[in-house]
């Protein structure tokens, strides 16, 4: 009887485990089925490299190059801001901060992760957008830079917690060895701990970037959503995610526009899949 119970529990857990893979598979199949249909209207090259996005015109122009560049620019900006701050914060928490400050900081960072993105977007719209406009003397503050700054806040919790974890799991004797050889604390951090934890830190950065590129609500509210190829980070951009979110309601099911939005979904899926795989590779490298 006990064995039977054991067996049932085991199988039930197995089904739970398989279910998630099954659902991912189904989602991907659906995405492919709906998205690839767009290529009966437009060649993949024209879709990916086209410079005009006018989905509801007759005939529609479905070039997503401005959207891809918009997403990449915002993500790049957010990475430049969040990586140094995030990694610095992780080093401070893991190595330098006294216990009490460490606990407060960790709680604060968890709180930052808990803020819904629409709230961050709203705060950005009211405070950051006018600030960017007046600091850089721009015609409008709805720019890629505003999006990058706001998204940096969103990427930071991921980067800090994963990087801190990586630094923490560097074997104690590395550090003790460095001290024994007469290295200062900073020398130990810079020359020993960081290289030893590097793969974990890269994974942290990748996961943070993955969070940024998939973010929708905040960027939709503060980047201006103009589908033009951005010439600087101080120009408005339209991201892949914001395009899907803003237009899905309108798209007539079965139209070219509808399929194109799913195809954008595939592009996003591929980008974040690549980022996650990279992060995974680095994480596993650390364990070997």
């Amino acid at each position: 009887m006990r064995k039977l119970k054991e067996l049932i529990v085991e199988k039930a857990i197995l089904i739970c485990g398989l279910a998630s893979i099954f659902f991912v598979g189904l989602i991907f199949l659906f995405l492919l089925r709906e998205g690839l249909a767009v290529f009966s209207f437009i060649t993949p090259f024209k879709f990916l490299a086209g410079k005009s996005w006018y989905p509801i015109s007759e005939p529609p122009q479905l070039g997503i190059l401005p959207l891809i560049l918009g997403s990449l620019l915002v993500t790049f900006g957010a990475a430049v801001i969040s990586i140094p701050i995030g990694v610095g914060c992780a080093i401070y928490i893991a190595e330098i901060a006294p216990l009490r400050i460490k606990e407060t900081l960790k709680a604060g960072i968890e709180l930052l992760a808990a803020i819904p993105s629409v709230v961050l977007g709203f705060i950005g719209m009211v405070t950051l957008v006018p600030l960017v406009k007046s600091v850089f003397h721009l015609p409008t503050g709805l720019t890629a830079l505003s999006g990058s700054i706001m998204l940096a806040f969103m990427a930071m919790p991921t980067i800090v917690s994963v990087a801190e974890d990586a630094l923490y799991s560097v074997p104690k004797n590395y550090k003790e060895g460095a001290f024994a050889l007469g290295a200062t604390h900073w020398q130990t951090i810079w020359r020993v701990l960081l290289p030893a934890a590097s793969s974990g830190i890269v994974a942290a950065v990748m996961l943070g970037i993955g969070r940024v590129i998939g973010e929708t609500m905040a960027v939709m509210m503060i980047t201006g959503n103009a589908a033009v190829i951005p010439r600087s980070i101080l120009a408005p951009v339209r991201t892949l995610t914001a395009t899907i979110a803003a237009e899905m309601g309108e798209a007539v099911v079965g139209s070219e526009h509808y399929f194109a939005l799913f195809a954008i979904g595939i592009v996003l899926f591929i980008i974040s899949f690549a980022i996650n795989v990279t992060a995974d590779l680095f994480l596993h490298k650390r364990q070997l």
Binding site: P130, T140, A226, A251, V252, V253
Partner: protein, 284 residues
């Protein structure tokens, strides 16, 4: 055990029946963001007068409303543009016959920051601004500032209407598009806020959104025509060039609660609500 399951199934069936029955007394109204305040005002007043019927009104954009009507998830679609041929074909394929009812008129106001000296424009100039051919306020007698063009997202009936009537001037062969550099904002309120805070911005929305923080510009059909302010009286007498009908779409001729609700909207009381929400009643 078996009996328990049987009981459970029976009770679920009953619950489902009860739910379906209550469905007859409630309708879903969905669509144009321009009309959502109006729809809600109608629904509130109607439910106050006729307890027992429940009317839920949500926005999302004209396209969203029409596609819900087509997929059968709402009973009435609110739309600030006419239904497209494509949408009719699609609806008929799914066994739905969209029926159009005109319930009000709306003037589209073009607004700038109150500090901007420009206060009147022709339709041609507007087309130039919104397509990006005119890029600086200097060319229109304003300050030497780059024009920041604000538009609604493509799911907005206001966006489609503005493109067809101002940018393309009703010419079906015209290929004019909004400038790619135009900022796409997700609501009329977002446009109102940006115009209020940005001296170089220009945007458009339904007259109901005009406040003291924005300045509506007077518009002339062409250079010889008089400049007309976006006012209710000017929309009624037809002199304001950028006005449009507000429409409701139903599946087939309205029946039951849908019909009662639409009759209410067209009644004297309903049309007074139209006026109270800053739209223009249809003159019978």
């Amino acid at each position: 055990m078996l009996r328990k399951i049987a009981l459970f199934i029976v009770s679920i069936t009953f619950a489902a029946n009860a739910f379906a029955a209550s469905g007859n007394n409630s309708i879903q109204v969905k669509g144009s963001d321009t009309m959502v305040n109006l729809g809600q005002a109608w629904a509130e007043k109607y439910m106050e007068n006729n307890p027992g019927g429940f009317i839920a009104v949500t926005g999302g954009g004209s396209g969203t409303g029409l596609s819900s009507l087509i997929s059968g998830t709402c009973d009435i679609a609110m739309s600030s543009r006419n239904i497209k041929e494509k949408e009719i074909t699609l609806a008929q394929k799914k066994g739905i016959n969209p029926e159009e009812i005109k319930v009000a008129l709306d003037g589209l106001a073009v607004v700038v920051n109150p500090k901007n000296p420009v206060s009147k424009l022709t339709v041609d100039q507007l087309a130039g601004i919104f397509t990006g051919r005119i890029a600086n306020w200097k060319e229109l007698g304003g300050p030497d500032e780059k024009i920041v063009v604000l538009s609604r997202e493509v799911n907005s009936g206001t966006h489609v209407y503005f493109k067809e009537h101002v940018l393309r001037k009703m010419d079906p062969n015209s290929k004019e598009e909004f400038s790619p550099a135009a900022l796409m904002l997700s609501s009329s309120q977002a446009i109102a806020d940006e115009v209020a805070g940005n001296i170089a911005a220009i945007g458009y929305y339904g007259m109901g959104y005009i406040s003291a923080k924005q300045k509506p510009v007077a518009i002339a059909k062409d250079e010889k025509a008089p400049y007309v302010e976006p006012k209710i009286s000017n929309v009624i007498n037809g002199s304001y060039p950028v006005s449009r009908p507000l429409l409701l779409y139903t599946n087939g001729a309205p029946q039951g609660l849908v019909k009662k609700f639409i009759d209410f909207a067209l009644s004297k009381e309903g049309q007074d609500i139209v006026l109270a929400t800053d739209f223009v009643p249809i003159t019978n």
